[in-house]
Symmetry: C2
Subunit: 417 residues, 2 copies
């Protein structure tokens, strides 16, 4: 990748330039709305009836401790219209295609296509970035080397190979993977394209915010009669934060527009490293969590951190628990009809279940409410994985017990249901 | 409903007028594409590698019996670009909102809003039509009486009530339901709005084809660099057929455009009544099937039948088995990231797995291939239902056996896995 010091500045104009560069290669993903979820999000958690969807009360907000808890808890009633940006329908099934096409395009501009084709590119990833880089490389006829742990699932390996990439196996620790990357770079001269901690990646990921901004304006103009007040456009955007490439890109894209940007994180086993880091005023460098939002297990990178800690760029980070993520995942599928991966459900979960965030929206938006963009970052999961989340395989040992009856006959009973 | 003889003629112009009437009330649902499914659909079934997705070979086409089966079976190689019309993201989660808004709008025009509000509307349905009519009625402040079998699932009952409809219970046979409808009509003067067998419904459902036609033209113009040949627009559309309201509406909308319209049906337990009826030249009036495509268990209605039997309007009907529907359902979710109900997967299943249809496309389209619209008719299912389809709940009784050991001790064994 280009030297960081030689990259374009992290400004809205640079995101606009990035969009111009990549838009022929990516999908302008749809933006959809859902009346039912709007109603649910605009109803206090304590007043939601079971038939309107999952009812997963949020943890009490910290400042509840200072108040009459019974009277105030779960009573926030923000008025929101949600606009889902469907990056699950982006090429390779996630927003990562944007950053990869931008980074590779910039590299080609700097070094020339012949040089880039001769040397190739390399990354280590078993996730969406691997497939995104493989696709961008194939499109420009550039060799791509993807270092993947030996223990990666076969479908991910074959998926990356299907994009024409050269898959190289490594051990599963980050040291082992990086050693293989260094080896590939030495042997081939390939350029490393990191997944999030680089300006070119950040600028590419930010392009989705420019589309969303315009799409919401268009939708509001066209659907005035559907009962949506014809406000100017977006008031806020909520996006997931893992490594932070996307969230910091969106912050960059929307700076100066008046649209507030919020980050959303799982809080299982400390996955909310960005939220905690903001409070402690210190970037957390290691995270070890098995949250179902597996795209968000990463600590925030250095450059993203420098952006999300800028209060003129990011308005706050809020987190949710595993049950709240599952409930939002269910609603996105059953109500908005969108097939998304668990990580992509985290911003919706914050909107629906984080009481502190809901209070903030009610307070700042007032009765007129807010138009809120919800980033659905990706959809790379399987029906089997979804089935496992919502109908965990029954463990026979836990569900039956056999005893011997008084007369020595066998008796099998179902325990639980 | 209006007297059939007084309805607008079943022409493209009438569908255009219907669209003008309803477009302020409905979503212009997105059209999405998916590279992976395009590649899969353009690869012979026999040559698909397992990693590219489900591999469910179709039944041999009837005329294979006349040929060297081994050489020709599953070798059709049509070249297709698919365009998914996302009616799963329509209001109430299915295309039915179109027909309901059109039928009610026409009724109001004929009788005057005061008269319609005084008398109300009635239908019997436990499915998407019930919610669609309830929504349209609520929008126009008209009372809606929905007759539902007592055994309907509670979520469907509360969903219909949530739209403000008056739910009236009946027995579950069609005689019992119709008796209750007649009773409601007598008591309230309410007008019956049938689910499919009426010109106003048919014209409303056809409006999605007009949107799709234009959206594909726009997409092809905007995405020329994505590798899609810049052809004029759609060559064909495949839509599901149950009662036939939607398919006959699409036939009507596209007549004279040169775009071929095909119907898609499940063939489990004779659910392919339209396909069989076309061959026998006689409408089949009763169907009893438990296909997973539960929206397509209905026999074709009389007016739709008069349209789909017109060879200038419908190019043919093709059917698929349950495994093929499941495989297409999986691909729509995992690859196109769309949450759909099983009925909505049937047209994609025909495109991917019906060898007779694939041979036809190859023959008629030639090497340049076809742009094919695939109607995703609805998304009203749950993650639990999807989980049950792809990971059937384990029956404990079938999985364990308890025996008494030689010494009278209890022994529990896992059978199967």
């Amino acid at each position: 990748m280009a030297e960081v010091s030689l990259c374009p500045p992290l400004t809205r104009e640079s995101v606009q330039a990035a969009h111009k560069r990549i838009k022929q290669y990516i999908h302008r993903t749809p933006v959809v709305t859902c009346d039912t979820i709007n109603t649910l999000a605009s109803t206090p958690q304590s007043k939601r009836c079971p038939s309107s969807g999952p009812n997963v009360l949020s943890e009490p907000a910290p400042h509840d401790l200072r108040l009459d808890v019974k009277a105030t808890r779960y009573s926030a009633e923000p008025n929101v219209r949600l606009f889902f940006k469907c990056e699950n329908q982006q090429r390779i099934g996630a927003f990562k295609a944007r950053g990869a096409f931008h980074a590779l395009g910039r590299l080609i501009d700097e070094q020339g296509i012949d040089e880039v084709r001769r040397k190739g590119v390399v990354t280590h990833s078993s996730g969406n970035h691997a497939q995104a880089l493989a696709l961008a490389a194939r499109t420009h006829d550039v060799p791509a080397h993807i270092v993947m742990p030996t223990i990666s699932t076969p479908s991910k390996i074959s998926g990356t190979q299907a994009q024409g990439a050269n898959v190289i196996f490594s051990g599963s620790t980050s040291d082992e993977r990086e050693a293989v990357v260094v080896d590939v770079m030495k042997k081939t001269g390939a350029t490393l394209v990191p997944p999030y901690d680089h300006p070119d990646i950040i600028l590419g990921q930010g392009t989705q915010a420019l589309e969303l901004e315009q799409q919401v304006i268009d939708l509001l103009a066209g659907n005035a009669k559907l009962g949506v007040p014809s406000k100017h456009g977006l008031d806020a955007v909520i996006a997931p934060i893992g490594g932070g490439g996307m969230l910091s890109g969106i912050c960059t894209a929307l700076q100066g527009t008046g649209i507030k940007v919020f980050g959303a994180e799982p809080n299982f086993e400390g996955a909310n490293d960005a939220e905690i880091g903001l409070k402690q005023n210190k970037r957390i460098e290691k995270v070890k969590t098995l949250t179902i939002a597996d795209g968000l297990r990463t600590p925030v990178g250095e450059i993203p951190w420098s952006i999300v800690t800028d209060k003129s760029k990011l308005a706050g980070i809020y987190s949710v628990n595993e049950d709240q993520i599952k409930a939002a995942l269910r609603l996105a599928m059953e109500r908005a009809k969108l097939f998304i991966e668990p990580s992509a459900a985290v911003p919706l979960a914050v909107m629906l279940y984080n009481e502190e965030f809901r209070e903030l929206v009610q307070r700042e938006a007032g009765p007129g409410g807010w138009n809120v963009g919800i980033i659905l970052s990706g959809g790379n999961t399987t029906v089997d994985a979804i089935a496992a989340i919502f109908a965990p395989p029954v463990k026979v040992e836990q569900r039956t017990q056999a005893t011997v009856g008084a007369n020595g006959e066998k008796v099998v009973e179902n325990v639980a249901g």
